[in-house]
Amino acid sequence: MMTTNWTIDGVKDALTGKKISARELASDYYKRIDARNPELNAYLTLSQDRAFAQAERVDALVAAGKPLPPFAGVPIAVKDVISTRGVRTTCGSKILENYIPPYDATAVQRLEAAGAVILGKTNCDEFAMGSSNENSAYGPVRNPEAPDRVPGGSSGGSAAAVAAGLAVVSLGTDTGGSIRQPGSFCGIPAMMPSYGRVSRYGLIAFASSLDRIGPFAKNVHDIATVLQIIAGRDANDSTSTTAPVPDYRAEADKPVKGLRIGIPKEYFGAGMDPEVRKKVEAGIELYRKLGCEVREIRMPHTDYAIAVYYIIATAEASSNLARYDGVRYGLRVDGDSLLSMYRKTRGAGFGTEVKRRIVLGTYVLSAGYYDAYYLKGQKVRALIAQDFRDAFTKVDAIVTPTSPVPAFKLGERTGDPLQMYLADIYTVTGSLAGVPGISVPCGKICGKLPVGLQIFGPPFGEGRVLQLAQAFEQAGGAAL
């Protein structure tokens, strides 16, 4: 049985129709992982024991004729910055090479309680810091659509796993674009929910005011299905909100005719690949054909977003990563005093990008520079959030490219961090503002390199975002 392109509904039909057992399905995925992972490097750790135990529980329900939970038997992958009890979680870092979390992240716990089978942990940039997955201590991931190219980052393994049929859906994390950009590079839908919509409990922190957990899937319907399970208040994350969780699949099914779509001029400036522009303009035209009202809008502070993002994100990272000190978990490199042990452990355990960000983040928070950089950054962040609030008084959603460029070649951009950072220009804005965003496939350049169309909605407007994404998908957006 060919299971490569299965969706959540496909799994459900096959299990209830007894065409395959959950155990056989998991085996099938592991066989494919064994065949493809040596090349792609999408998975860092496989969790067979946990997966088969769960699959057997699902098969017992099927055998007993009991009702199946919504994720029964669905093979999923989890980014390696999200904690999984008893399953090694490295964050793509040497400093956590042998770390085994004593608890599950809330998102993982909820998916497993709904029947999901966790196949393993996916590769990523170290501590989610990167835009190409080349900052992983365990080697880069290759893009299944073009193996000489990057899958995007930082959730490169989660994107590649779903794109290559090595998981039905996966969880990633997005701090400045780390879900949406790899989704765009690998040609699959990928969503960053609103800040506060999904619990961050068990997500190993990079930048706490920006980090979010969200799904990758083969289609928008499955994105909505994952979000339905993981969204909602969690007592273990005080920033998760009590705002009601709507029926996302019902929201996604609503017609889009008459919706007002804003196109911010600032997202179509210099530095954008002309082929990406063509595809995204064709995507906007598709919305016109679907009966949406397309309006040009202004978001005047867009150009400052990268500077703000790399100040705030690194400042928060420098604080969050202080916990890796060789005392309670992770790597320890011995020294002749406590301080020398700290310094050696951190110097040896962290990779190049992580150390660069700790130094930058410590600098912008240090005495004499705090006002000029960190405080200034927080003020401009407020202006960027205001741009979004102003836009949503005039339009229902904002449509932009996800990335100014398609997937680039491995090694092509590693030498110049500032150039790598600048490619996050279209995604960091929504991260700073806290709004939800999705990337949906919007054609392929030369039939080969996927382009992503990004849709932003107002805070907690996931339903609206999914509605526009699904309409786009069903109207043939991926084939533009």
Partner: protein, 100 residues
């Protein structure tokens, strides 16, 4: 030049981070370039702008009152100590800090 080699050294020391000579110089150059770029924020007058200290608006945050003070079992010490590089239950052992 916005950041000197001494600055990088001082900041790495604050962050308890051992850096090699070549890392010091590479980071100095790269961070200098990033800070130069970040200087563009000074084009904006933000005198009357409140810094964005939290993401969620007041009406979006969870119930701001304190939760009930309920005792829940938390017998996790043995499992957590298993992850420690040098455990001596019920303690984490570290190099000597205080001289006799």
């Amino acid at each position: 030049m916005r950041i000197t080699r001494e600055d990088v050294f001082r900041v790495a020391d604050l962050a308890y981070l051992d850096l090699s000579e070549s890392e010091l110089e590479t980071y100095r150059k790269q961070i200098d370039e990033i800070l130069e770029y970040a200087g563009k924020l000074n084009e904006l007058n933000t005198t009357n702008v409140e810094p964005m200290a939290q993401v969620l608006a007041d009406d979006q945050t969870a119930d701001a009152t304190l939760r009930e003070d309920v005792v829940v079992p938390c017998d996790v010490a043995p499992e957590i100590l298993k992850q420690a590089p040098d455990p001596e239950p019920p303690y984490f052992r570290v190099p000597k800090v205080i001289e006799r």
